[in-house]
Amino acid sequence: MLPTDWQSPSGGVRARLQDSRARQYWDPHHLLALRLAADARDPQPKQACCLRNNVLWDLAVLYPPGAEWKDALPPATFFNGPVEKRKPELETALNLLDLPARNSSRAAFHQ
């Protein structure tokens, strides 16, 4: 998305996510971002930012327990960015799910 985003993340970049449950992916063609946009629907909240060249980026998406990805991604309970500025809201959303963060399965996608 940025002019400097022309190669996969280095070990140093990946090391920013230290959680052993995290899975990190390299998505140069924005496959997941396009899928997230295509499958967005009510009651999923609409993001207040995070579009560049009509592609989602710098976005956090939270799915509750029980949500399954069938033909389309399920509606997310949190869908917003930029990630750095939405941390308090994201933590609130996690608390609303009444689940400690340690029980969540996380993934990060570099695009």
Binding site: M1, L2, T4, D5, W6, Q7, S8, P9, S10, G11, G12, V13, R14, A15, L17, Q18, D19, S20, A22, R23, Q24, Y25, W26, D27, H29, L31, L32, A33, R35, L36, C50, L56, W57, D58, L59, A60, V61, L62, Y63, P64, P65, G66, A67, E68, W69, G81, V83, L90, L94, L99, A101, N103, S104, S105, R106, A107, A108, F109, H110, Q111
Partner: protein, 142 residues
């Protein structure tokens, strides 16, 4: 005459630097540096490797075909040269292995290696963890 006065000290400096360049393994260090840089600048790798190869040849010339200004070949220069030559050769032969070794040194403990995006595989992983909260974050690779 005036020009000569101005140029003489400049020529002396250039001459001194040339003499030092003959004795110091600058070309060798530069060769190792460009080879390392090529691991990061993937698209430029062929060109940087060519520069590395040329600089190694320059290092050979410095060490074994030098002029009369450098009378003795130091052991340190020879050791540095062959160490750098080995590094450059390894990077030329197996650049991805070297890159992975360097990257793995900084990877978070317990995480699998970086994977290319495969939506089908991701969906399977997503549904396998359906009993838990899942958080997806889209981030820049830089």
């Amino acid at each position: 005459m005036r020009h000569g006065e101005k140029l003489a000290p400049v020529a002396a400096v250039v001459s001194a630097l040339s003499c030092m360049a003959c004795c110091l393994p600058l070309g060798i260090a530069a060769a190792a540096g460009t080879a390392g840089l090529s691991l990061v600048l993937e698209p430029l790798r062929p060109y940087l490797m060519a520069v590395s190869g040329a600089l190694i040849l320059f290092g050979v010339w410095q060490l074994y075909r030098r002029g009369p200004s450098c009378q003795r070949r130091s052991r340190a220069s020879v050791a540095i040269f062959w160490t750098c030559a080995a590094i450059v050769a390894l990077m030329m032969a197996a650049p991805q292995i070297v890159a992975n070794l360097l990257a793995d040194l900084r990877l978070p403990f317990g995480q699998p290696a970086l994977a290319a995006m495969d939506l089908a595989a991701l969906r399977a992983d997503f549904n396998r963890a359906a009993d838990r909260t899942r958080l997806i974050v889209l981030l820049s690779p830089t």
